[in-house]
Structure formats: C-alpha cells, structure tokens
C-alpha cells in the first residue's frame, strides 16, 4: 500500500524461502514457515489481497499448528480462499506465487491439514501437537534431563547406590514447553517425541 514497489528486497528471495520450507516434513510447518518468511522479507505490502491476505493466513495457520481450541475445517477453507484470491488478485508475481504455494501445499496434503485439526501432527513437527515422554523401562535415572530442563517440567530422583524407593522420572505435560533440551542430553534415548493421541485413529 506504500506507493513504490520496494525494489530492494530485504533478505531472502521467494525461491530461497520455498527451498527452506520444503525441508520441513510437515506441510503445516512448511506453510507456516513460508508465510512467516514472506511477511518478514519479500512482501512489498502494496496491495490488499497479499498484504491483508497473508496476515490472515498467518493467523489461520497458527490456529492449525497450535491446535487452537476453536480450530475447525473452516480454517483450511479460509486458507484455500486466501490462496485462490491471492493468485487472482495480487498485484505482483511474488503475491501470486505465495498464493500458489498455499494452494499447492493444501492440494498435496489436505489430509494432513485435516489431521492437524483433530490434533495430530504425523511428522511431529508442530510442537503443540507432540508430547515428550520418558520411557520408564529405558530410563537409567541419571538426572541429566532434570538438569537440562529450565522449565521445571521434569520430576524424578537421581539414582544413588544402595538406596531403594526412588521417585521415577516423568515429564509434567502442563509445564513442558516442548523445547527439546531434554532429548538432546539423554544419551540412552529414553525420551521420545510422540504425536498426541488421535481418538479417531485409535478407534480404527
């Protein structure tokens, strides 16, 4: 909406963003990354469909990836509408390409998007849709994860020789921010990242 199209693009080009987005396995994360980087970088903010459309797309994608309490299929439909109108109505190629990316990503993996709405991220990339769990059978109670966790989300007692009756190690889901620091320090791979359980899938 500023008069001149910005000739100097700050930072990344659209192609780079696309490549980086493709590295993500989860299609929702792909789209989140693409839109975030587009808004922060090459978007010229000149025309409504692109400037306001991507703003709305970001809100909708956040709702899906964070499993917002009111998330629904309408969010996916809204994304589709935004994408189509950006292709049709955007001023420049950058906007139309961004619209196309949204539409293509949706077309290729609409099922995945729908699964997210049910609270399941197959690729375990959407942190709101994963849980960290300590395998009690594998845990050697070394206490490294307890030291690494800065959010006081892990409870448990370090094993000491000749003593019995320890409190086992456990992650408190309410406190866990899913930062992943505990996984990094667990040398015996006793901590695992899991998709949250999906009622429909379990039912099958």
């Amino acid at each position: 909406m500023s008069e001149e199209i910005r000739t100097e693009e700050k930072g990344k080009k659209l192609e780079d963003i696309r490549k980086e987005a493709e590295e993500k396995a989860c299609p929702v994360q792909k789209a989140v990354y693409f839109i975030d980087e587009f808004i922060a970088g090459p978007m010229c903010s000149k025309c409504y469909p692109c400037s306001l459309g991507t703003g709305e797309a970001k809100i909708r994608l956040t709702r899906i990836s964070s499993h917002h309490k009111n998330v629904s299929k309408r969010d996916v439909q809204a994304l589709k509408r935004i994408g189509l109108n950006m292709i049709e109505g955007s001023f420049c190629k950058k906007g139309r390409d961004t619209g196309r990316f949204l539409i293509e990503t949706l077309a290729a993996s609409e099922d995945e998007f729908i699964r997210h709405i049910s609270g399941f991220c197959l690729q375990k990339e959407c942190i709101s849709l994963v849980e960290y769990k300590i395998h009690p059978g594998q845990c050697v109670m070394c206490g490294k994860c307890l030291e690494a966790c800065t959010h006081e989300a892990i409870i448990g007692e370090k094993r000491e020789s000749y003593l019995t009756g320890y409190l086992p190690f456990e992650i408190l889901q309410k406190k866990c921010t899913k930062c992943g620091e505990c996984i990094k320090v667990c040398q015996i791979m006793a901590i695992e990242r899991l998709s949250t359980e999906l009622p429909e899938l379990i039912a099958k």
């Binding site: 978007m43 809100i59 509408r81 109108n85 049709e88 109505g89 001023f91």
Partner: protein, 684 residues
C-alpha cells in the same frame, strides 16, 4: 478538442477522451467500478484491487484505475471471479474495522459501508483483528482515528501531491499504519490543517473533529458556494442542518488541481456565531457604542452623508460581491454625489492589470510561471494557488519561478530564477524571440540589448516546448509578464482578495481620492496622515488598526466588531459571505456564484440590502442589479498589447500580513485563533 475513442463497457458503447482511465470512462456511461484507493485526478496505484476488470483479449484481469481507454476495447466489469476478489478484499478489511456503523459519524458517506452493503457482508468471515491505536484529537480541526483506517493511502498521496507531506505509511501488512513523522500529533508535525486528507478519506479515520452528533451525510443539505476569504476564491460545498453550518468541504470538481480548501475556508465558519459578531446596528452615545435600530442608524448615516457630500468617502474591501460593488458605486456617485470610493485593491494592485488579465484553466497548464508571487500554504497566503501549482507539478507540469526574493515554492521549481524580475522577463522575451517566435516590433526593440544566460535559455526552451504555458503574475509586474504572454501563453494577474477582478470590472475604482488618502496612509509609513475626507464609510474588514485622523464621522459596516468598528460612530451589521447570494469574478476570470447558505445572524443584512435601504432613506431608489447588468460588466473584451517592462511602484504591502488582517475578525473569533497561537508556539 480532445480525441475521443470508442469502447464497450458491459455492453454499453462509451465515447471517452483518449488518455482517460477506465474508472472515469465507465463513470461516463453511468457504470461504477468499485474502488477504495483510487483518487480522481491522480495516477491509479492498484492497491485495493477492487477495480480489477476483464478486457477481452487479455488473459488476466487488469486494474481499471491505471488502464487507459483504447479504441475498440471491450471490457466487462462484473463476473463471478471479479466479484469474489472484491468480496474477499472487503471481507478482509472488515475483519480489521470497528463495525460500529450505527454510531459512526461517517455513516452514509463511507465507501467501506457502501461496498459491505453491496456485497452483502454483515460481518467479516475472517478473524477479528483489534488494534486499539491511540486517537489523535489534540487539535480542534481534524480527528485522526487509525482504528478505522483501511490503509488506502489516499490521505498520504493527497498530502504528498500538494506538497505538505505530513502523512506516511509505517509498518507492513496488517500492521501498517498511517503516521506523521515520529507519530507526533498533527499540530506538531507541520500540518497546515487544510483538511485535504479529510476530503480524501473514504472512511472515518480522518474527520472534522467537531462533527460528533452533528448529523450525518443524509441529514445535510449541501449547497455550493465560494469562499471569499482571500484572492483564490475557492469553490466550497457547505453542509447545513437545521439552518446551521455543520461542515465545509472543497467544492472544486473531483480530479481538479484546484480541489483544495485552507483552514480559514474550511474551519473558520464558527466565527459566524461568535461573540464579536454584530447582530444589531450600534451608535456612539457618550463615547460608548450602544445598540440601536436600523431606522435610527440609517437616518443618522443618511444625514451625515448628505451634509458631507463631496467630502464623504467610501472605502471597501475587494472581497465583496459584484452586486455589492455595483450598488456601492451607485450610492457613492449618484446618491451621496462623491467621487471618493475605492477599495483595498489599490494597496496591492493596479486596476488595468485586472481588466487585462486573461482567462485560463490551471488543469490544462503544462508549464506554470510564477512572477513576483510567493504563495504559501503554510503562511496561508493564497494557499490554494500554492497547492494547485504544486499539484500540477506533481502531475507532470513544469514550474518556473521568477522572483527577486527567496520563495518556499522554489523547492518544487523546475527552474528557479532568482533576481530582478524585470531583467529576467526581458531576457526570457529575448530568448524566445531568438527561438523564432514572432513578437511586436516595440517588444523586440525593448529587449534588444539584454543578454541571455544559460538558465534563461533553459527556461525559454521549456516555454517554447510547452503546449499551454500559464503565467501568474503579481499585479505590479503584470504588464511586464504580459509581454511574455504576447509571445506565448496566457497571463493572470493575481490579486489578494477574492473579487479583485470583479470589483474592477464593476467599475468600483476611484474617481476621486484613493483608499490610502482616505485612510490616511502614507506610502512606506503606514497610517498616520490626515484623512482626505470628513465622513468615512468603511465596508467590510478593512485592514485599518486605528480611526484615520481628522475624521468627523466614521461609519463601519462589517460582520464583526473589528478593531476599527470599535472606534466608529455608527456600526452597521453586515452579513458574512455565507449569508448572502451573489457573484464574483475570481482570479482566473471565472464568474462564480455564491449562495445564501444560511440566514444572516440577528438583524445583519447583506451589504447591498443596507445600501438600498440607505439610499431609500436619502430619497433615491436603487434597484438590485440584474444578472444581465453583472454579466454585461463581466463580458468585456480586452487585448494585450505591448507595455514597457516596468514594475509598478507603491504596491508593496506584504501579502501575508494583508490577508491575515482582512481576516482578523474571522481568526480572532473562531478556533483559528488556537491555530495561530499554536503555530506561534511551535515557531518559537
């Protein structure tokens, strides 16, 4: 005549001038192409995407605001795909907009509301976004509420185009915002409070700040008239409700460079009901002004004038209507039988320059010369001329400034020629003759000996290449400037008062004592000399601080109790320009019509009504001048002819001070006083 092209819009054949864009062309056929960011007269930027239309033969839709008509074009403005994009955009904007149309002052005049209605959008289907930006309402003129802003950028562009350049976009995407520099309140940002942005805003983001619960668009009666506060004589559209003025907007045609109104014209109207407004005649009893009746006041005035006869004199401002001027002359010459009648025009202009001044259209000018003129929006000295010239320059016209002093306008000039105006004009004439233009022999001889410098050559080349050069000149340098117009272009003498040209054409120019002689003004010294008359009748806000020396009797006929009126023996309350119909001839030579927008306050009457009543008391019946009488006086044929290159002497008042002093009562009795004081404060 412009070339016309034929095209088909939604099945209707339209003829449109070549170069016109599709939105304007469709409008000719009565077809509205939706748009939010388009502003007539300015290049389309295609931000809102509402004006996307389909052209047969083109793959993708194009924006109508920035696509020119072509012969044989077939366009479709409506189909499902286009409507979906439009609906999508309105839907998105609504998601960021406070949906409070039921209490919103702009309702009825809001484009967003109009399109929401058209596309049947009750509320947005997208996520509601709330911003809670602070409202800028620390001034009594313009309220800026960014929460309503739809980011169309019209205000930013309008402000940039006219050269004030206060508003700018900040931020990106949905977080964009229109700001002043450093997000300062308007009065600290260099804003002149012209309100062009208010006229441009399609929603409630920029609004007159006194509009709260003073009615909405559909409740107003809209009346076109003319502002008489300075030499520009701008067109205005006045909105009234219950017989009171609610707001004034620029009345110039959309798209014209003249679509401008300064703070005086737009916001000064509250002075009409101010305390200092005169509503009944007053006479001096025991040294004090006391209220009296019209009958009493007029009989005293009649008596004094009758006794004074040739020793009576009339001075008036030149910001009165043609009809007032005609009658004033009649009453002076035929009833009182004095030759002493003059206007403030003689302080800044010589009558011949207004008689010979040509007619022109600034929107057609592709080269503008400003000779010895220093218009300024910031000083409010012919601000509309400043704004229109800057607009023309923004739209591609060239500007040559010829002035011995430094001008603010120089920053917009293509060529700035600072130096002795006479010598520069002579050189330009010579350079033009050197380029093969034909000129009068006497003119050729007069410029034979001057030298042409590189800068002059450059300016002359621009004049030679221009299609419609237009010269605006001060009256003092009109003759010299007219010599250039004799070679090429048109020339306009720019007066400081709205009806300077009209007053001259109506013949209200002295045949006896001059304004200065009657007011006791000595050249270069100001007031102090003895008045040349015994009884002085002052009409309008004449710029005199003190009662002229040696007067036996002073009559002041004005709308407000001005400084001079306080020293008068009789004060007659007159109507303001918004309370009387009539005509003027503006500086461009156009006959403009004033409307009686509201009834005069109290017992005040228009100048002409007072004169007619006074003549009746004196035993002579004067009729209101007919339209034919005015038209006949306006329609004089003049031809420019060579005059020596001379700058007229004695016309050396400061335009800024003059315009401020003829509007002193208006400023002092309205919210403009706040502006003056704030501007002084900022300047310190």
């Amino acid at each position: 005549m412009e070339k016309l092209v034929k095209l088909q819009i939604d099945g209707t054949m339209v003829e449109a001038p070549a170069g016109m864009n599709l939105i304007d062309a469709a409008e000719l056929a009565g077809i509205h192409i939706p748009n939010l960011c388009y502003l007539k007269g300015m290049k389309g930027i295609g931000a809102c995407r509402l004006c996307l239309i389909e052209v047969e033969g083109l793959k993708a839709p194009v924006i109508a605001c920035n696509t020119k008509v072509r012969d044989g074009m077939v366009i479709h403005t409506k189909n499902d795909k286009l409507n979906e994009v439009r609906k999508f955009v309105i839907d998105l904007i609504l998601s960021m907009h406070p949906l409070d149309c039921m209490t919103c002052t702009k309702a009825g005049g809001c484009n967003l509301q109009k399109y929401a209605y058209e596309f049947d959008l009750k509320e947005s289907s997208f996520t509601r976004k709330k911003f809670g930006y602070p409202v800028d309402e620390a001034n009594p003129f313009i309220k800026r509420d960014p929460d309503y802003c739809i980011l169309c950028g019209r205000c930013v562009r309008v402000c940039k185009e006219q050269g004030t350049n206060i508003l700018e976009f900040m931020g990106r995407g949905i977080e964009s915002k229109v700001l002043t520099a450093n997000d300062k309140p308007l009065q600290e940002s260099g804003c002149t409070f012209c309100g062009s942005c208010v006229d441009a805003c399609p929603v409630n983001a920029l609004l007159e700040s006194d509009r709260l619960r003073k009615g909405r668009e559909w409740e107003y009666e809209k009346i076109n008239s003319v502002c008489l506060l300075c030499g520009n004589g701008c067109d205005i559209t006045v909105s009234t409700k219950d017989g009171r003025i609610q707001k004034i907007n620029s009345g110039a045609a959309a798209g014209s460079a003249e679509k401008y109104l300064c703070a005086y014209g737009r916001f000064g109207f509250d002075s009409i009901e101010a305390e200092s407004r005169l509503t009944v005649p007053m006479k001096r009893i025991d040294g004090e002004l006391k209220e009296t009746t019209w009958e009493d006041a007029l009989s005293i005035v009649a008596d004094k004038l009758r006794k004074a006869g040739k020793e009576a004199g009339f001075i008036s401002i030149a910001g009165i209507g043609n009809e007032d001027a005609l009658i004033l002359k009649k009453i002076a010459k035929n009833v009182v039988k004095t030759k002493n009648f003059d206007t403030t025009l003689s302080l800044y202009g010589e009558t011949d320059s207004f008689r010979n001044s040509q007619k022109a259209d600034i929107d057609k000018a592709d080269l503008i010369l400003l000779v010895d003129l220093n218009p300024s929006q910031w000083e409010r000295a012919l601000p509309a001329l400043d704004a229109s010239v800057r607009r023309r320059v923004s739209r591609g016209a060239k500007l040559i400034i010829i002035n011995s002093a430094d001008t603010k306008m120089a920053d917009a000039a293509t060529v700035n020629l600072q130096g002795n105006e006479i010598s520069i004009l002579k050189r330009i004439a010579k350079a033009l003759i050197g380029k093969g233009f034909k000129a009068d022999k006497k003119l050729g001889a007069a410029v034979k000996d001057v030298e042409v410098t590189e800068e002059i050559e450059k300016a002359a080349t621009f004049i030679a290449e221009a299609k419609n050069p237009l010269i605006f000149s001060s009256p003092a340098l009109f003759d010299a400037s007219a010599n250039i117009a004799l070679i090429k272009g048109k020339v306009i003498s720019v007066g400081l008062e709205s009806n300077a040209r009209g007053v001259v054409l109506m013949g209200l120019t002295t045949e006896g004592k001059t304004y200065k002689e009657m007011a006791g003004i000595e050249s270069g010294k100001g007031q102090g000399a003895k008045s040349a008359v015994k009884v002085l009748y002052a009409v309008g806000e004449v710029p005199l601080q003190t009662r002229p020396e040696g007067l036996e009797f002073l009559i002041v006929q004005n709308s407000h109790l001005s400084g001079l009126a306080r020293q008068a023996d009789i004060v007659l309350p007159s109507a303001t320009f918004l309370e009387a119909a009539g005509t003027i001839v503006d500086y461009m030579g156009r006959l403009k019509y004033l409307s009686k927008v509201i009834e005069p306050q109290g017992e005040s009457k228009s100048h002409r009504e007072i004169f007619i009543a006074l003549a009746k008391v004196m035993g002579t019946a004067i009729k209101l001048p007919t339209e034919t009488e005015v038209n006949k006086a306006v329609r004089i044929k003049t031809k420019l002819s060579f005059s020596p290159f001379i700058k007229k002497e004695g016309l050396d008042i400061s335009p800024n001070e003059f315009i401020e002093s003829i509007n002193a009562s208006l400023i002092n009795s309205s919210r403009l006083l706040w502006l003056k004081e704030t501007e002084k404060g900022v300047a310190v």
